[in-house]
């Protein structure tokens, strides 16, 4: 049975951890999760590979752990991409319907799409995603396929996500060093957003914010598809850093205080309420005002959400985001963070939940991206492969080596 299956690895090389999930893709298109590996990340800062060897060692350890837990060899990898180098823009194209009877043809659609995607990028930048927004026919929104509809002008727009070619090449080569091909690169926010929201949420409008250790990825859905995406190079690590500076403690102690006593909204009113650093009454253990910790974390979280809100721009508003804000990622475990988001965005916010029936080990917000990679990657497999098939060698010998 297994010989007919294909084993896809979802890899997220994050600032704090590298996570690998292996999915067994069976012939009917469904995926069984069969292996998981995780390793502390090294050589990655704010989603960028800064030390190739350290990043490779960490990534390969996680890949190996996942392969050993699944007892299979990975055939192909879907790689999550994040980092401050990623940016996006919107480009729209219009074509006059060519047929005399004003019936939209496939040629019209392809022409519009090609033109909308053809905007040149600055030197050294490369496209990661072209996310299509709904077609418009004579200014009215139509379905995903306007073929055979009647109208005079066909409009289509793409949200193009692009990044530094060198940064993306580094991520690719880290994985390629394990001698496995990267089948697709997927924006982290798109991966986690797919897992956190339902199609109905996306149709009504939803904002998903994935707060990692080094970066915060967000995706804003409208009309059922991603409207815009973005990355803020600020994450949970910055909360720790602020605590380190504010309380004059080491990074490890600050991380411990953040996890134990940090809050996204100040709850403590008594300044005299203090907490122990370690709580073991050993030499060096000391007390800190709880309110001070909460004030520092609240300020940084509020600032983070305000930056996101600012980057979302005028397209975002309460009426365009009826489903609300969904928070995920490791830092989303900070108490009262949903209330803080509600306060900033002015719409209901909640902690995102993974679909029911998930393995207990995986059912954590920090695994949303790696789970979403498999889900999103397989959903978009048809289109991606169509493009990939033209560019990537897929011969027998090539697959033989790639799969080894």
């Amino acid at each position: 049975m297994r010989s007919k299956a294909r084993f896809i690895g979802a890899v997220e090389i994050g600032t704090s951890k590298v996570a690998v999930l292996i999915g067994e893709m069976v012939r009917d298109g469904s995926v069984n999760l069969i292996g998981f590996g995780e390793c502390q990340s090294h050589g990655v800062i704010k989603g960028l590979v800064t030390d190739f060897k350290a990043a490779s060692d960490a990534t390969h350890s996680a890949l190996l752990a996942a392969e050993q837990s699944a007892s299979v060899k990975i055939d192909e990898v879907y790689l999550a991409q994040t980092g401050g180098h990623l940016d996006g823009f919107y480009n729209q194209a219009s074509v006059s319907v060519s047929a005399a009877d004003n019936k939209v043809s496939q040629v019209d659609i392809e022409t519009a799409c090609r033109l909308a995607k053809s905007k040149a990028l600055p030197e050294g930048r490369t496209v990661v995603h072209h996310i299509r927004r709904p077609f418009q026919l004579d200014g009215k929104m139509v379905g995903p396929n306007p073929d055979h509809l009647h109208g005079e002008r066909l409009d289509v727009g793409y949200w193009t996500v692009h990044g530094l070619e060198s940064a993306i090449a580094n991520s690719l080569h880290v994985v390629r060093g394990f001698n496995v091909l990267v089948g697709d690169i997927i924006l982290s926010s798109l991966a986690s957003g797919t897992m956190m929201t339902t199609p109905q949420d996306r149709q009504h409008g939803a904002l998903v914010i994935d707060i990692g250790a080094g970066t915060t990825d967000y995706v804003f859905y409208q009309d059922g598809s991603p409207h815009l995406t973005g990355i803020v190079p600020v994450g949970g690590g910055h909360l720790t850093n602020d605590l380190t500076l504010g309380l004059r403690v080491t990074e490890g102690q600050a991380e411990k205080l953040k996890i134990r006593h940090g809050r996204a909204l100040v709850h403590t009113r008594e300044k005299s309420d203090k907490v122990w650093l370690n709580g073991d009454f050993a030499i060096g253990d000391r007390q800190f005002p709880r309110q001070a910790i909460e004030l520092i974390t609240e300020a940084r979280v509020r600032e983070l959400f305000e930056v996101v809100k600012k980057k979302l721009g005028p397209d975002f508003g309460p009426e365009a985001c009826a489903a609300g804000v969904f928070l995920t990622g490791g830092t989303a475990k900070l108490p009262a963070i949903a209330d803080a988001a509600t306060k900033v965005f002015g719409i209901p916010a909640q902690l995102g939940e993974l679909p029911p029936g998930m393995d207990e080990k995986l059912n954590r917000p920090q695994h949303a991206t790696v789970l979403g990679l498999l889900h999103f990657g397989l959903q978009n497999r048809g289109g991606a492969n169509e493009e990939a098939g033209r560019r990537r060698p897929r011969g027998f010998i090539h697959k033989l080596f790639a799969g080894s």
């Binding site: 006059s96 033109l115 905007k119 040149a120 390629r176 060093g177 496995v180």
Partner: protein, 304 residues
């Protein structure tokens, strides 16, 4: 925007970034996976090559000398023949019967023909022949046991002694000691019919064998004097006639168990020898337990 707009250059995609990397830039795990890929490819090439070469060889042989594919002349000659038997047949008989030509290959042996040759003698009930590579033939025999003996002419004018087994098979016994053959009673009152190179099996021998086995067990001394047994009246009257050294005619009935009849015979012989010296002429044990007709002679019987 019109459809006539010239095609814009497509934006560079991440898929244009070459993924190939030099093995020295791979981690040790990656290099191991790459090497395993090479090994697997090499193994596949060797396997495919071997299969192709094998196929070519077979095809070539089929074209040039198809006999080579089926002939067993490449196998080693038979060096050892192991015999396992529950009877008296020995290696010499086996060698003579099999009559294998010198340097006969093990794979050349026609085991079915050899088995037929072994069972043709009649003395062998079943024969199992097994090749044991590289050069051994294992033969396991199950032999028939003789119950009585008889004289008959098979081929030629001379009368020969044959043995009769429990299933009625008449065969020329091989390897039996003279003492054993002499201890067997003669069989009379049957007509032999030819079948192939032998005779049709005789009916009723199973009952006779039962009688003889019972007598041999119950009164071995008196049984030793039994000379001739006859099945002359078996089919008509259900009687078996025995001629012994003391009594010219002892009649056993097949409808009553032989042990009771032999017990009565022993009693009668005992009583008569104690009470009279007049020789007995006949004892009829087939009538039943309530009465046993006994006839006396005035003169002592004479036997061949």
């Amino acid at each position: 925007m019109s459809n006539d707009t010239p095609q814009s250059p497509k934006a560079r995609s991440w898929r244009d970034i070459p993924q190939e990397i030099a093995p020295r830039r791979m981690s040790s795990v990656g290099r191991r996976r790459l090497n395993m890929g090479f090994v697997r490819t090499a193994a596949m090439v060797v396997t495919v090559g071997a299969m192709g070469w094998g196929g070519f060889e077979i095809w070539q042989t089929l074209q040039q000398d198809p006999q080579r594919l089926t002939a067993g002349n490449e196998s080693r000659p038979v060096e050892t023949i192991n015999l396992q038997s529950n009877g008296v047949l020995d290696d010499a008989w086996l060698q003579e019967t099999l009559a294998l030509a010198p340097q006969t290959g093990l794979m050349e042996l026609d085991l079915y023909a050899l088995r037929t040759r072994l069972t043709a003698s009649g003395q062998v009930r079943t024969a199992v022949l097994v090749r044991e590579f590289p050069a051994t033939l294992n033969v396991t025999l199950e032999e028939r046991s003789p119950v009585v003996r008889m004289n008959a002419k098979l081929d030629g004018p001379d009368t020969r002694t044959f043995l009769v087994a429990q299933d009625g098979t008449v065969y020329h016994g091989e390897g039996y000691g003279p003492q054993l053959v002499r201890s067997l009673p003669w069989l009379g009152g049957v007509r032999l019919s030819r079948e192939g190179s032998g005779f049709v099996p005789i009916e009723g021998i199973a009952q006779l064998a039962d009688l003889l086995a019972t007598a041999r067990g119950a009164m071995p001394d008196r049984f030793a004097t039994w000379r001739v047994v006859s099945l002359e009246r078996l089919s008509a009257d259900g009687q078996i006639l025995v001629q012994s050294a003391q009594v010219p005619e002892i009649i056993f009935g097949v409808r009553e168990d032989f042990y009771s009849q032999i017990a009565r015979l022993d009693l009668i012989l005992e009583e008569t020898s104690r009470r009279t010296t007049v020789p007995l002429h006949s004892i009829d044990l087939s009538v039943g337990a309530s009465q046993v007709p006994v006839a006396f002679n005035q003169i002592a019987p004479s036997f061949p």
